[in-house]
């Protein structure tokens, strides 16, 4: 048998980028010791369901805010967007700026009061309060499925990165990650997950910030970097955020500004940041209304800085990465890389890490990546266990059980969720294309869910039937458009409204259309059905709810003041890199 695997092992051996020295292993091991210790340490404070699933609702704005932004700062995203920056240039920064900041501020200022004062435990829980059981069950089932699958994708991705970068065995990485995360989430619930996310945020910066710093020193500063990219690629398009978006053909991504502003900046971004329970759960753990409003604003401020450690390394790689003969290294797509043995776009971050970081710093960088992957798993599994326990098990299987029963179910569902994730990881390992399908699946639900939630919060006339059928129609239409493009690539020109659109545009416009369909169906069905009495909407809908005072006296204590500062900085950044 071994001879059958020999060519495969040889392939991976030749692909292995580096090895860890003892000091790197010490740095990595230290991280594992600390996170396991934290799990055991906080176990004593997770005895009630409120403590296990919502961290006792006692987190300050800073903790909830850092955890909120960190939950989205997984290694999959970091490595993927660094690769996208290499491929498409600074346009990738749109996913960190217009694709995040306005939505995060909207969550903090407009939506958080409703989530918070409704005292819901989850986003499906809010849908149940506002639209009834139908909308909750659609949302809870799809969300539970997605979190388990995404956790598995994170697990496999970590194993693959460890394999490619360090030559580690896939199963070893999967199980070491799964067991560690299962221990600390099972013991400490959301509290463990949040503490580790805050630690991960610090680690990501400690491990990755040296890359852009040393890279910019090597390139001779930002202006020289732009000049070198223009000279190497024969185009200025890679370092402009907006000036190339006038037409699909004018930029490397093949998108139009309407897709970026309305598809990404409005629908996808608002959908993700305001209705994905994985991130909203972090803010629900805040200790008062003002902290709940401030948390997304603090998160937004830090989010604006993330392109420094993600986008800048991708841009630097266009000029500083060289082959042994001194020529510029050209990275390629995964398919070509597998066939030719070249490095792929997704390897940008590890390649840059190895370029600048020797023993010790390399271990720190690898630890940051591992922390990012494990945090991704922990976030998904803790959100899964909450939605499973509250919105599926507690809602349909065993109502009115003692609180300790639900805590116990939360711990067990963490283990089961982890095992399902391990199964998903092995499934993805045997059929890599499943990863693309899982990520596509995730996109099916987000845009219509935003339509349903935002109409539910802001429009009193939206009815239960309207919410349910709007959500269902939006989701089904998103799936239908995706299948249409999969079967006939030419369909993209109809969805993106241009024959010059490239695949990236499909996601943006599909989200936009599914949102529009959800809103139209919700509107029409609501107008045809009996309105919900306003008295039943108190605490759930704008206009039927008196928003309590958040306790801010001075100007600097007011969330809106800080939101304005963040949005002004956001505009300045966009103008600087126009």
């Amino acid at each position: 048998m071994p001879h059958i695997f020999a060519p495969l092992l040889l392939f991976f051996a030749s692909r292995q980028l580096t090895v860890l020295s003892p000091i790197d292993i010490a740095v990595l091991a230290l991280y594992f010791v600390v996170v396991i210790f934290i799990g055991f340490y906080v176990k004593g404070s997770t005895n009630t369901s409120e403590e296990f699933f919502l961290a006792g609702r006692e987190m300050s704005a800073w903790i909830a805010g850092l955890s909120f932004v960190s939950a989205n700062l997984g290694s999959l995203e970091l490595m993927g967007w660094a690769g996208a920056a290499y491929q498409y240039g600074i346009l990738a920064a749109h996913w960190y700026w217009i694709g995040a900041i306005p939505a995060m501020l909207f969550l903090g200022i407009v939506m958080m009061p409703f989530y918070y004062i409704s005292k819901t435990h989850s986003v499906p829980g809010y849908l149940q309060l506002r639209f009834g059981e139908g909308a909750r069950s659609v949302s809870a089932v799809s969300f539970a499925l997605m979190t388990v699958l995404m956790s598995g994708v994170n697990m496999y991705s970590m194993a693959l990165v460890m394999k490619v970068v360090l030559g580690w065995n896939i199963s070893f990485s999967i199980w070491i990650g799964a067991v560690t995360v299962a221990i600390y989430v099972m013991l400490g619930g959301l509290r463990s997950a949040i503490i580790n996310e805050v630690l991960q945020f610090v680690l990501i910066w400690a491990g990755a910030a040296l890359i852009p710093i040393l890279g910019l020193i090597e390139a001779g500063g930002w202006s020289n970097l732009k000049a070198q990219i223009a000279a190497n690629l024969g185009s200025n398009d890679y370092t402009h955020l907006w000036s190339t978006l006038g037409h699909f053909k004018d930029n490397p991504m093949g998108v139009h500004w309407t897709g970026i502003v309305f598809g990404l900046g409005f629908v996808i971004s608002f959908g993700y940041w305001t209705t994905d329970f994985l991130v909203v759960q972090r803010v629900l753990s805040a200790n008062n209304l003002r902290a709940a409003k401030m948390a997304p604003i603090i998160g937004a401020a830090f989010k604006m800085a993330v392109p420094l450690i993600v986008i800048v390394p991708g841009l630097l790689a266009l000029t500083v990465l060289k082959n042994p003969d001194g020529s510029i290294m050209h990275l390629v797509g995964e398919d070509v890389a597998a066939a030719t043995g070249q490095h792929s776009y997704n390897e940008v971050l590890p390649l840059m890490l190895i370029r600048y970081c020797g023993p010790g710093l390399l271990g720190l960088g690898i630890t940051a990546l591992v922390a990012g992957f494990m945090s991704g798993m922990a976030g998904n599994v803790s959100a899964f266990s909450t939605v499973w326990t509250y919105d599926l098990y507690g809602a349909y299987m065993k109502k009115n059980a003692p609180d300790s029963h639900y805590v116990s179910m939360g711990r067990w569902s963490t283990i089961v969720g982890m095992l399902l994730s391990v199964g998903t990881a092995y499934l993805v390992a045997n059929a890599a294309s499943i990863m693309d399908y899982v990520q596509a699946l995730f996109s099916f639900f987000i845009a219509p869910l935003f339509g349903t939630v935002v109409l539910g919060m802001l429009w009193k006339r939206a009815t239960s039937a309207g919410g349910f059928w709007g959500l269902l129609a939006g989701t089904v239409s998103s799936i239908a458009m995706w299948i249409w493009v999969q079967r006939d690539a030419g369909a993209l020109q109809y969805i993106a409204l241009s024959p010059d659109a490239k695949p990236m545009a499909e996601n943006l416009y599909r989200a936009l259309w599914s949102f529009v369909i959800c809103v139209v169906i919700t509107f029409v069905v609501s107008m045809l059905t009996k309105p919900t009495p306003v008295a039943q909407l108190a605490g759930l809908v704008y206009g039927a709810t008196e928003i309590p005072d958040d306790g801010a006296d001075a100007l600097w204590q007011r969330p809106i003041f800080w939101a304005i500062i963040v949005i002004v900085v956001f505009f300045i950044l966009n103008l600087i890199f126009w």
Binding site: L30, V42, E58, V198, V202, L364
Partner: protein, 74 residues
């Protein structure tokens, strides 16, 4: 109450935020100093001694947070 870790606990979340960089600083500074004495790995810009300087930065950050949020304070 220690912030973030639960009612009745002694160690604040910010203590852990300081502890890990402190430990990393304690590992990186001596190693970086040894490297700076002519044992640098052949990475790009190794002549700037990034391990030593980054280790010092982590150490300062870690010391500040672990002292400011040490158990029993406040």
């Amino acid at each position: 109450m220690a912030e973030g870790t639960g009612r009745g606990e002694k160690l604040s979340i910010w203590f852990f935020v300081g502890l890990l960089p402190l430990l990393y600083g304690l590992i990186l500074v001596p190693y970086g100093a040894w490297e700076a004495m002519g044992h640098e790995a052949p990475t790009t810009l190794h002549q700037l001694h990034p391990t030593l300087w980054w280790g010092i930065l982590l150490l300062i950050f870690g010391v500040y947070y672990t002292i400011r949020f040490r158990p029993g304070k406040g």
